[in-house]
């Protein structure tokens, strides 16, 4: 398989972002890899925050004063705010005027440090924290997450007191967030939990250290003894090479290939460790490596729903009339951003696909292009009820002009190949000659628009 420079650039944009908008395609398709990587990295340092949400109440006392009805209204408002935030994140992923790498990195860390909250300002706060460190230093990121209100609440560190330690956060810190299973003992968890006692949050979403809950005693953790607090526990975990190994493996599976290449991951882990856990440096190295562009890595990943939707928004310039359309689509596809299924994140890969989600994926472009009635019902979910997501039309506008502008210069006999080359990272598997009758030949514009619709309705389009 010959891998053209254009395919490589597209690979980079898919893995480091959500594909290329037609305009981005026109600009970047012949750039060199090194230059493009530097450009993408530079655009994503000092990212804009995700936003600010004011807490609806400041203290438990205020919350207690609310009537039942007011509480219900508040819950409904919070759910709506969270739904809108979830959708607005997808729209960011699809916005070609925003740097995409930071969105992709944030998606990765959101899945890695999976947590959620019913309080929108907690959710936004964690987003901002992740964004700040997403391409920075992993130690800073872990420490910030350990002090993050949403995580503290989600993993019960709020209940972690000297007299009655709660091990939940300490366990997941090692098992899922840093060093991985098999590299610590049950006793390490107990001792680490003691070090994080008193790390709490208030309802405003601020970290509060409660010294009277904190255990200042001597701890023995991973073979070391001292009066450790949480910072030092994290330092000790990061001194262990296995942590670099675990994170490098997870980054490889997300950005490169679900199937691990052991020697490459070992190399990445070495570099990551030697750089003192510099995430940006590691990502730039991966994106600039020749092996990143080898055929087994291109077009081999099943897009997550966020990648699929973000990519479609980017390519088609989609604008949605009602945020609930995108919530509906997320739920139908099995991934609602800001609401991961549990602390282990989304299983990913083939787990995205069953007969129902595949049909939704193959029909999605049709629903968007034709605004046809969506004959697909979501199950009632009591905790999502206020969205009223049942069986609705997806009202969205498509801006097809940029694609037409980018491709109408090609003669008709190569248009098909050009467009499928642009849209399908795994190459065309369907028989091109049989697709002709589904494509309009009225005009070049209609040909392009109908071909885009059909290519986006193929199994191949599910790949990136």
């Amino acid at each position: 398989m010959i891998i053209s420079p254009q395919l490589k650039i597209q690979h980079l944009f898919w893995r480091a972002g959500f594909g290329l908008s037609p305009k981005e395609f026109s600009i970047y398709h012949d750039w060199s890899i090194d230059k493009t990587v530097d450009h993408l990295m530079k655009a994503s340092v000092n990212p804009e925050p995700f936003g600010q949400v004011k807490p609806a109440f400041q203290t438990r006392e205020e919350l207690r004063r609310l009537s039942e009805e007011e509480k219900k209204q508040l819950q409904k408002m919070n759910r709506n705010t969270l739904g809108k935030l979830s959708v607005s994140w997808l729209e960011r992923m699809g916005d070609p005027n925003r740097p995409a790498l930071i969105e992709k990195m944030t998606l990765f860390w959101h899945d890695h440090f999976a947590s959620d909250s019913k309080l929108p300002h907690f959710s936004v706060k964690q987003q901002n924290t992740i964004r700040k460190h997403a391409l920075g230093n992993f130690r800073d990121l872990v420490l910030a997450i350990a002090k993050d209100p949403m995580m503290i609440q989600y993993l019960n560190n709020q209940q972690n007191k000297k007299q009655r330690p709660n091990e939940n956060f300490a366990r997941e810190l090692m098992e899922l967030f840093t060093i991985g299973i098999g590299n610590y003992t049950e006793n390490d968890i107990k001792e680490a939990a003691r070090a994080f006692t008193g790390w709490t949050t208030n309802l405003r979403g601020e970290f509060v250290f409660r010294s009277n809950w904190h255990d200042y005693g001597l701890k023995t953790f991973m073979g070391k003894s001292g009066r450790f607090d949480g910072d030092q526990i994290i330092d000790i975990i990061l001194e262990r090479k296995e942590t670099a190994q675990y994170i490098a493996g997870k980054i490889y599976r997300f950005f490169v290939n679900e199937k691990i290449d052991v020697s490459r991951v070992n190399d990445l882990a070495d570099r990551f460790y030697r750089s003192n856990y510099d995430i940006g440096q590691l990502m730039a190295y991966i994106f600039k490596s020749d092996w990143f562009y080898s055929s087994e890595n291109i077009g081999s990943k099943i897009k997550s729903p966020a990648e699929l939707i973000g990519g479609m928004i980017r390519t088609l310039g989609l604008e949605f009339e009602d945020f609930r359309s995108l919530l509906f689509t997320q739920r139908a596809l099995g991934q609602v951003l800001l609401k991961p299924p549990n602390v282990a994140g989304w299983p990913g890969g083939k787990a995205w696909i069953d007969n129902a989600t595949l049909m939704v994926r193959l029909n999605l472009a049709g629903w968007l292009f034709d605004s046809t009635e969506v004959n697909f019902k979501l199950k009632e979910a009591p905790e999502m009820r206020s969205y009223n997501l049942k069986n609705r039309k997806i009202k969205a506008t498509i801006d097809i002009e940029p694609i037409i502008n980018a491709f109408s210069g090609y003669p008709e006999n190569v248009l098909f190949a050009k467009l499928s080359g642009y849209l399908l990272q795994s190459g065309l598997v369907a028989d091109a000659s049989k697709l002709e009758r589904f494509v309009s030949d009225e005009s070049k514009e209609k040909f392009i628009a109908s071909l885009v619709l059909r290519l986006m309705s193929l199994p191949e389009y599910q790949m990136c």
Partner: protein
């Protein structure tokens, strides 16, 4: 428990290869039965979503605490359809009482799990994945059952009567098949474009692309098969016109038509009754009882009731005390109903809830729900339960 969780997480993080089976599962010798084909056993699961208030379905009609705790919500003792001298059905479940009297119902009381979770979402995940309260699994119990026993089965061997597939039906290699509306699915999969693509494509070299094409092709062929099966037999039995009635009618018709499906999964929504519960829940229970009666009668007429087992559950029960809005809030342990001709000990299986011994106003569980699953897996579907559930649970003498 530790090991189980660890291995499951490994499975969820590392599962990528085509033949991945979590290592702990390999340790168990899985039975070679193919979905109980030899016995032709069928399992129907009804999921009451929202948290069915078991105390107002199976009423402890002689318990003063029940009546004190629910001054306006309690079911009057004189109205109760007595099952024994302790509990009785809500009067709206009269059709279900008839089945009970015919020896076709087992009521299992106080089913739950340790450290109960009161979030709908999380507790349903626990029931669907058969995990402990502190484990997070990315496969469902029926999905794992398919993974272990059903490598060569048709995709519709486990069928969910809905447009979306529940976590319970998702395995690593195999998953159940979702079909909310057969005609609609047939229309979707019958699109000329889809059919053309499915029939005319190159051999996909990339494993995931091949997987997508395979899933697409099997969805189309399954939709065709099920659509034909649904036309094979049309029942004369009258079902209630509500959604559950229609769905169970469809299930009965597929079973009677000899469809090669062994597990049917049915969702029944609306049980989140925080306010003005009595009318709402009574209506749902009535729909349930009527639909179950019609379904059971249908299968009895066709001599299939002995090969059919219906298991009904909800993600949790409700608190013992009613709340200020004439409803109940999220609770813990609950009752489950088994219906069918193959019950070993029809009737009330164990004593009702002990309202004197509550956990902060909530019922304490006595039977782990995974014991019910284990029993059904082993004794009804004929597979080794430990392989599916990751460990052994003591079986119950119900089927």
């Amino acid at each position: 428990m530790k090991n189980t969780r660890r291995d499951f997480l490994k499975a969820s993080v590392l599962a990528s290869g085509s033949l991945f089976i979590p290592t702990f599962l390999k340790g168990f010798d899985v039975g070679t039965h193919r979905l109980g084909k030899e016995q032709g056993k069928v399992l129907v699961i009804i999921q009451m979503s929202g948290g069915n208030d078991g105390l107002n379905a199976c009423v402890p009609y002689r318990n003063d605490i029940y009546y004190q705790s629910r001054p306006t919500l309690a079911v009057k003792d004189s109205d109760v359809l007595k099952l024994n001298d302790e509990i009785g059905f809500n009067p709206v479940m009269e059709p279900m009482k008839a089945l009970f009297d015919d020896g076709l119902v087992s009521v299992i009381n106080n089913v739950g799990y340790p450290d109960p979770n009161r979030s709908h979402f999380r507790s349903m995940d626990i029931w669907q994945t058969a995990s402990g309260a502190k484990e997070y699994l990315s496969t469902g119990w029926l999905g794992r059952y398919l993974d272990l026993t059903c490598k060569d089965c048709n995709p519709y061997h486990a069928l969910e009567m809905d447009d979306t597939l529940s976590l319970s039906m998702k395995g690593v290699e195999s998953s159940g098949f979702a079909v909310g509306n057969l005609a609609q699915l047939k229309k979707t999969t019958g699109s000329p474009f889809l059919k053309t693509v499915a029939h005319h494509h190159d051999h996909a070299h990339e494993e995931n692309v091949a997987y997508l094409y395979r899933t697409m092709a099997s969805t189309i062929s399954s939709a065709d098969y099920l659509y034909e099966q649904a036309k094979t037999f049309s029942t004369k039995t009258v079902y209630p016109g509500n959604k559950l009635g229609k769905t169970l009618k469809q299930v009965a018709e597929l079973i009677i038509a000899g469809t090669d499906t062994r597990v049917y999964y049915v969702n029944f929504d609306g049980f989140d009754t925080h306010a003005r519960q009595r009318g709402m829940q009574d209506n749902l229970l009535k729909q349930y009882a009527l639909a179950m009666k019609a379904f059971t009668d249908d299968l009895r007429t066709h001599n299939l009731i002995d090969d059919t087992l219906v298991m009904t559950f909800s993600e949790f029960g409700r608190r013992v005390k009613q709340n200020a809005s004439g409803g109940t809030d999220h609770g813990t342990a609950n009752n489950m109903y088994l219906v069918g001709g193959g019950l070993k000990n029809p009737g009330v299986f164990n004593s009702g809830p002990n309202l004197l011994d509550l956990d902060n106003g909530d019922l304490k569980y006595e039977i782990d729900f995974r014991r019910v699953y284990a029993t059904i897996l082993k004794n009804w579907l004929g597979v080794k339960d430990g392989g599916v559930l990751g460990r052994k649970f003591e079986l119950l003498d119900v089927v």
